[in-house]
């Protein structure tokens, strides 16, 4: 029977090409608008380290101004000071711990083919690579001993290795930055976490850094941070030394804790540490330390822009308009075909059978709208890419995956079926032979 209904549906769609086209187009445009925004939001709110979400924690300590919280109502600063970062790292109380910041360096390639260029380099402690499961193509990261010895080593991303060494195994070779040589110990495989959850300051969609060096080495070389940098009071002494000893925050800190008990123990350790520091005259605010999972941290930092939420609300309403439109058109179609329906009822078709017939027809329109809607979503994403063309990162946000494609089709079919319910119900209510009399 289903094949027969499919055939009938096809005939009915062909019988009213303009009306059917309008319905398919309305669903497709509604789905397209909605899915474009849903896709952008999906990519923005993605958690690239979801499988370790219960083990990784972002560390915050409240060393801020006694009169004025870092952020209303009582948010601790989003980064930590040099004093605290190094003290917590040295204590080594977590399974793994990462302190890092980014800094602008000038890379001086060998030969004259490539001119020197500036690059954002991540200075980090050794655990960065195992903790965030960064994949390696050649070599590996450095170890904690290298951190302590301030070894002059560097890790390159695959793209940077392609650019500087033509993609070959460059481990053991040298890289010049700001006139200082670094030995390359590792080359990453493709790694593109979006957003860059480990540092949500500045732009979390720009992608990860292309060069990594030990944190301790960067500090001994007096590298400045090119990321956010806030102080609630001026450093007491000038120069880099004064900066390191100040209450300025510029370092992102993460720890890996393997169990709930370990997390509780670490939270207690942080409280003890701050209490101890209070005795030395630091940390004038009440105890307010925080450990956040990557997901909590992304929500806290509002990685998903308000603008996207506004657009999402409007696009859902947009889909509603398109569906109201489709309902209206389907209803018109049903009422126009009242004669057929009452004839079929008179010849013995049950309400259930009629319901099936019209739902199948609506489903066909839904599938067509969904398929066309995927095309519309693609167009919509190209449109978004186009109007945001000044942002380098926009191409990370406008990619469709299978998940989103499936969702588009499912949304289209569900929408079409919802739209079909009322008109179909109306069709089923037509009584047998009611309209035959006046013929």
């Amino acid at each position: 029977m289903l094949r027969y209904y499919l055939k009938l549906g096809m005939l009915s769609i062909r019988a009213n090409p303009a009306l059917s086209a309008l319905m398919v187009a309305a669903i497709a445009i509604g789905i397209g608008a909605c899915m474009t925004i849903v896709t952008v939001r999906h990519v923005m709110s993605d958690n690239p380290i979801e499988h370790k979400n219960d083990r990784l924690f972002h560390v915050q300590l409240d060393n801020w101004n006694p009169n004025d919280p870092y952020e209303e109502p009582n948010e601790p600063p989003e980064q930590v000071t040099y004093m605290d970062a190094t003290a917590l790292l040295a204590a080594g109380r977590a399974h793994r711990q990462v302190i890092s910041f980014k800094s602008d360096r000038v890379v001086q390639p060998d030969g004259d083919d490539i001119l020197p260029f500036q690059e954002e380099v991540r200075a980090t402690s050794a655990d960065f690579f195992p903790m965030f499961e960064v994949p390696f193509r050649y070599g590996s990261g450095w170890d904690r001993a290298a951190d302590q010895a301030e070894e002059r080593v560097a890790v390159l991303s695959a793209a940077m290795n392609d650019r500087l060494f033509g993609g070959e195994d460059s481990t053991g070779r040298m890289l010049m930055m700001n006139n200082e040589p670094f030995r390359i110990v590792g080359v990453l495989d493709e790694w593109h976490p979006v957003p860059t959850f480990y540092d949500l300051n500045n732009n979390p969609f720009d992608g990860p850094e292309q060069i990594y060096t030990p944190f301790s080495l960067a500090v001994s070389g007096e590298w400045g941070s090119s990321g956010n940098n806030s102080c609630w009071k001026p450093p007491e002494d000038g120069g880099y030394e004064g900066y390191l000893a100040s209450e300025c925050i510029w370092i992102q800190m993460w720890v890996e804790l393997t169990s709930r008990a370990e997390k509780e123990a670490y939270a207690q350790f942080l409280d003890d540490y701050v209490t101890e520091q209070k005795a030395l005259g630091r940390f004038p605010r009440p105890l307010n330390n925080r450990l956040s999972t990557p997901e909590e941290w992304m929500i806290n930092r509002e990685v998903v822009d308000d603008t996207v939420s506004v657009l999402l609300a409007l696009s859902v309403l947009f889909l509603v308009v398109c569906l109201l439109n489709t309902i209206g058109l389907l209803l018109a179609k049903v009422i126009r075909r009242r004669n057929d329906i009452s004839l079929r009822r008179a010849l013995g078709a049950s309400r259930g059978e009629l319901f099936k017939q019209y739902i199948v027809e609506a489903g066909m329109i839904g599938v067509a709208g969904g398929v066309l809607g995927i095309g519309m979503t693609w167009l919509g994403l190209r449109g978004i890419e186009n109007v945001f063309s000044g942002y380098d990162f926009i191409d990370h946000l406008v990619t469709m995956d299978w998940q989103m494609t499936g969702l588009a089709v499912a949304l289209a079919i569900v929408s079409a079926l919802c739209a079909a319910l009322y008109p179909t119900w109306r069709a089923c209510r037509v009584s047998p032979a009611s309209t035959l009399r006046i013929q």
């Binding site: 930055m177 939420s309 309403l317 439109n325 978004i384 109306r426």
Partner: protein
């Protein structure tokens, strides 16, 4: 024509009209709220930075070889000489940032010395020399520009703040809200305890962050900083920018190989980048509103066409009984007006509701009072226009139809 019979006829076949009325309601809701956002964003983009944007460009010089402090000072002096002596250049400075760049230095000023009090006022900082006012194209409306002896190089390992400052009118108003006379000569405190004497007030120079609510607050500070990273800002004679920008970049790149020149941008490009998000939002919402209006209009056409074909016989009878063609057209126009009125009434309430929700959730500005009436008028006109086609077709039905059976 009497509205009564039309209304009663509509009641006999409600569902189609209810759907169209709902569609109009939701369309109005989206339309006016989208328009409100467009208005807000357009207003932001229209603000002036205070600079001579058409004739100014900027670039950064990044030293990567180890230079002593004195060497760095000498390089900056050399660079500035070279730029300022290029024919067609009005003036140039080495600074830390400029309006619309979205990255810069901020400090807080307070009226009392001591640790930051809740009453302190945040401001953007631009380090300049006596050429700053001309390069930024700001008018000193009170007091004076810096004199050369007020400008000094920063001292190594010394964080003491320079003793003079030129501030924007907006910053002055926030620091001394009750002062009606001149604020020149007054003192504010920065860095907790360092006094800053106001020597001049300028009309307008925006902070580098266009999204900051205090964007109009900035201060010029008479200090030169010999860092490895220097941002040069160059103002040219009208029409000379595009010629001078690559020429000066090449000259500076050639003059010293121990640094790189990067981030060469015109102020127009900087503005465009700063407002990409706002401009995009305007385009997206504009497109959404247009598309939505078209879809709603098509829905109205669909329903009207359907009604015309269903009522073919009745229209024929009316024509046969003496109704004129315009009378038939009028019938459909009035019918549409009734549906529109209901839809727009519901829509106005929905629009206000959504606006209140959005203002709460996303701290948007509330709608201007006239947006909803204008939206209603526009949608009513669109509805009338959409129904005209089918109504014309209806009026062309021949009275003879009435004589045919079923």
């Amino acid at each position: 024509m009497d509205i009564g019979p039309i209304w009663r006829a509509m009641l006999r076949n409600k569902s189609g009209f209810v759907l169209i009325a709902l569609q109009i309601a939701v369309t109005l809701t989206i339309m006016v709220n989208a328009f409100g956002i467009i208005q807000e964003r357009a207003g932001k983009i229209d603000r002036e930075s205070g600079m001579d944007e058409a004739n100014t460009f900027a670039f950064a010089s990044v030293l990567f070889m180890d230079y002593e402090r004195e060497q760095r000072k000498a390089l900056i002096d050399e660079d500035l000489d070279l730029i300022r002596n290029t024919p067609g250049v009005v003036n140039a400075i080495a600074s830390n940032s400029f309006p619309l760049r979205q990255g810069g230095w901020s400090m807080s000023l307070s009226l009392e010395p001591g640790s930051q009090t809740p009453e302190s006022v945040g401001t953007a900082i631009y380090f300049v020399d006596e050429h700053g006012a001309e390069t930024f194209d700001v008018a000193v409306i009170d007091g004076k520009n810096f004199s050369p002896d007020q400008v000094a190089w920063s001292v190594e390992d010394d964080n003491t703040w320079p003793a003079y400052g030129i501030i924007t009118e907006a910053l002055g108003k926030e620091l001394w809200p009750d002062e009606t006379g001149s604020i020149v000569g007054k003192t504010a405190y920065i860095n907790d305890n360092d006094p800053v004497t106001i020597v001049g007030v300028i009309d307008r120079l925006q902070a580098p962050w266009q999204g900051w609510s205090g964007v109009e607050k900035s201060m010029l500070v008479p200090q030169r900083r010999p860092s490895e990273f220097v941002r040069y800002i160059v103002r040219t004679e009208p029409g000379m920018r595009d010629e001078l920008m690559p020429a000066i970049e090449a000259k500076l790149a050639a003059s010293n190989k121990d640094r790189i020149i990067r981030d060469v941008v015109t102020m127009e490009q900087t503005r465009k980048l700063a407002y990409v998000g706002d401009a995009a939002m305007i385009k997206i919402l504009g497109f959404v509103v247009l598309l939505l209006t078209v879809i709603t209009a098509l829905g109205i056409v669909g329903l009207a066409s359907f009604n015309v074909s269903r009522r073919t016989r009745q229209i024929g009878i009316r024509r046969a009984l003496g109704a004129t063609k315009p009378a038939i057209v009028r019938y459909f126009l009035i019918e549409n007006s009734i549906v529109s009125a209901i839809g727009l009434g519901i829509g106005a309430l929905l629009a206000i509701g959504l606006n209140i929700a959005m203002v709460e959730a996303f701290s948007l500005e509330p709608l201007a009072w006239y947006v909803i009436p204008i939206g209603m008028l526009v949608l009513w006109a669109v509805g009338q226009l959409a129904v005209t086609g089918p109504a014309r077709r209806a009026s062309n039905i021949t009275p003879a139809i009435a004589t045919r059976s079923g």
